[in-house]
């Protein structure tokens, strides 16, 4: 039977997805020491055995990976070795006096930056353990040329820096996923496409069969009942989890399909779930009430069919 589409993928705006990832980064000894001292308005650098001086401090020379070094205090003055200005904000490359590397920071003030201009650090108030304890560098033609000095006892390095990534994505559905999710949203109908030379459906639908790489066939409505192929009982909490444990993670083959779909089954307790929910158990979708969005969350959960 040929099932002509009555909904169209073009209606689906991209899927908005967010990842909010927390981190605890370790800067290592040199950068950790730089961060520990920057609040005291002293710039820690490393002087390697070969004489190369790098500031802010690094554990390994960016020139050749050399790892023997001692801490030095770098001056808060230097020269501008490069810059770029976008929307009135200037980011410059700064080479501190007596040092062998350039590092990026903000260039502050109204004065027009020029290559090789003298610059001087502008300290921020109330900021420590961050490169932003230096608010930026200002053009200072008359700044005296500073010197690298030995650093006495340094503070213990900062061991952990909190960080986060908040990532936003707009995933395009494409014609196959678009049609499938539009059907789910509009008609509570789960549709796949037929495998080549078969009445069984690939779910999610796609253009080609994974193994033979032949073009798939016509659209087919799968039922919202199916059989568990594999399942486990989730009893741990983790970041990003969408429901409280315990619950069952199930890979379900819907009736009419030949591939799995992942969903959840609510349970009362672990022991009874072990007995009641296993490979081969028959289940049905419980659709979410209210507005549907065109995602697998339009199915609230699956439940065991008591036979």
């Amino acid at each position: 039977m040929l099932s002509a589409p009555d909904t169209w993928a073009i209606d689906m705006p991209p899927l908005h997805a967010e990842l909010n990832m927390p981190y605890t980064l370790t800067p290592g000894r040199a950068t950790g020491t730089f961060l520990a001292e920057i609040g005291t308005r002293r710039i820690v650098g490393s002087r390697f055995a070969s004489g190369i001086v790098i500031a802010p401090a690094q554990d390994f020379s960016p020139i050749d990976g050399e790892s023997e070094y001692e801490f030095i205090e770098a001056p808060a003055t230097g020269v501008l070795t490069g810059f770029t200005t976008v929307d009135g904000v200037t980011i410059g490359l700064i080479r501190l006096d007596g040092c062998d590397n350039d590092f990026a920071h903000r260039i502050l003030g109204d004065e027009e930056p020029t290559l090789d201009a003298r610059v001087e650090a502008v300290w921020a108030d109330g900021v420590d353990t961050s490169i932003l304890a230096i608010e930026g560098f200002r053009i200072a033609a008359d700044a005296p040329v500073g010197e690298v000095k030995p650093f006495g006892d340094t503070a213990a390095p900062v061991e952990v820096v909190k960080y986060k990534l908040d990532l936003q994505y707009e995933h395009a559905y494409g014609p196959y996923y678009g049609r499938m999710f539009d059907e789910i949203r509009t008609n509570r109908r789960i549709m796949g496409v037929r495998l080549p030379d078969s009445d069984s459906a690939l779910l999610p639908p796609r253009e080609a069969d994974d193994i033979s790489h032949k073009r798939t066939g016509t659209w087919k409505t799968c039922l919202d009942t199916g059989t568990i192929r594999a399942c486990s009982i989730i009893n741990l909490e983790f970041l990003g989890q969408t429901r409280p444990p315990p619950y069952v993670y199930a890979e379900i083959v819907l009736d009419g399909a030949s591939t799995k779909m992942i969903h959840m089954i609510d349970i009362d307790d672990i022991e009874s779930a072990k007995q009641r929910i296993k490979p081969g158990t028959r289940v049905r979708a419980v659709w979410r009430e209210g507005e549907r969005v065109g995602s697998l969350r339009d199915i609230e959960r699956f439940e065991v069919i008591d036979e």
């Binding site: 990832m21 980064l25 950068t31 069969d209």
Partner: protein, 388 residues
């Protein structure tokens, strides 16, 4: 698949790894890598100047929030201006790095290649990061890292292949005991069968003591062509075959009970290495077992026993240190689990056994080692044969 008997002979001539731990707050990610590289180069009696090319392998960027980390790592190991590629491939990243390095030397593009692999898992949210390997439309919102998925197919294998909770618990007892002698492992505590079986279910049937630690760690090897290998050591671990294949887990009618990609890789590697009876021919085996149930599956996919024979094999004691086919004398992932490095660590543990210089329990007269690596339940998986 390509003919694995082509190309130059390649040996592992130097190895190094960090003392793995739950959290290293004294070194950055790059500093961690440096430790392993220094040890591998010293072991191979070489300096970075002797290295032609470098392969850097890590897990996903989301594990530790540093994009293009090979730039940072290259600076830290003194590999500026060398030809460098980064390889990332889920749980098998370190092994895939080894494979990439092997191709460079076997193909004649390099005489000596340094392969380094690492992950510093204490820095990010592990299960959350792993869940992003799922299709954002189709399953990601329900993913439980790879643990939920792996446990589900273990449950299915119980019914069909008899991989019972007790059989997997024996893997936990064996590997945790073996890890005690491994100077680089950080979980060194003997457990009993009952303790494993009674430990808290996390994703049942996977329980707390079936699960490896989360680790910070790095590993490095030096691969060398035959005409320069002798400058580093008298007894390299020669790579007789190495392959890494992809699962087709979303294809129709896949049971996912046996590991098809691993069985395929084994078929090709065994042909290249002349292995016809793996159980009898190998002296030692190292497998990457993210959870204990994986080791049972690998026994079968690697042909150490027939499908359905894994529970009997572990119960027989044959895979213990004093058995006829010891598996994971290092303790495997249950001793330390810096994911991106694990595949390379397994290669190191297999190599040092046949080189006769294992720092764990040395298997007497080990001449031929089988090494397996790969990611979560349905993923990329591979194996290698190493010989003295």
């Amino acid at each position: 698949m390509a003919n694995l008997n082509k190309g130059r002979h390649v040996g592992i001539v130097g190895v190094g790894q960090t003392h793995h731990s739950r959290r290293r707050t004294d070194v950055s990610q790059a500093g961690l890598v440096r430790e392993a590289v220094d040890r591998a180069l010293a072991d191979a009696k070489l300096t970075m100047d002797d290295i032609d090319t470098v392969v850097i392998a890590t897990g996903p960027v989301l594990f530790a929030a540093v994009n293009q980390p090979e730039k940072w790592v290259a600076d830290a190991i003194g590999a500026q201006l060398k030809p460098i590629v980064r390889v990332t491939s889920g749980g098998g990243a370190g092994f895939a790095g080894g494979l990439a390095g092997y191709y460079q030397v076997a193909g004649g593009f390099a005489d000596r290649t340094l392969v380094v692999a690492y992950d510093k898992l204490s820095e990010g949210a592990l299960q959350y990061s792993i869940s992003t390997l799922y299709d954002p439309f189709w399953g990601r919102e329900f993913a439980v890292g790879i643990m939920g998925f792996s446990a589900a197919y273990w449950r299915a294998r119980m019914d069909v292949l008899g991989h019972t909770e007790e059989a997997a618990a024996r893997v936990a007892v064996k590997n945790r005991r073996n890890a005690i002698a491994n100077p680089y492992a950080h979980v060194k505590k003997e457990v009993t069968l009952d303790e494993v079986l009674e430990s808290k279910p996390l994703c049942w049937p996977i329980k707390l003591l079936d699960v490896p630690p989360i680790s910070d760690g790095a590993a490095a090897i030096v691969l060398a062509a035959e005409h320069v290998a002798h400058k580093s050591c008298d007894r390299p671990a020669w790579i007789h075959g190495i392959a890494y294949c992809c699962e087709a887990d979303n294809a129709a009618e896949r049971s996912l009970l046996l590991s098809e990609p691993l069985a395929l890789a084994a078929k090709h590697v065994y042909r290249a290495a002349g292995i016809t009876n793996p159980r009898r021919q190998f002296d030692v085996v190292e497998v990457q077992e993210p959870y204990t149930c994986f080791e049972l599956n690998y026994y079968e996919s690697l042909g150490l026993c027939p499908p359905g024979g894994a529970a009997e094999l572990i119960a027989s004691g044959a895979t213990e240190l004093n058995g006829d086919i010891p598996v994971n004398p290092s303790g495997g992932c249950l001793g330390a689990n810096p994911i991106g490095a694990c595949g390379l660590i397994r290669l190191i543990e297999g190599a040092t056994q046949v080189m006769g210089k294992s720092e764990n329990t040395q298997i007497k007269d080990a001449k031929l080692a089988l090494v397996q690596s790969g990611g979560g339940w349905a993923n990329l998986r591979g194996c290698a044969v190493l010989g003295a």
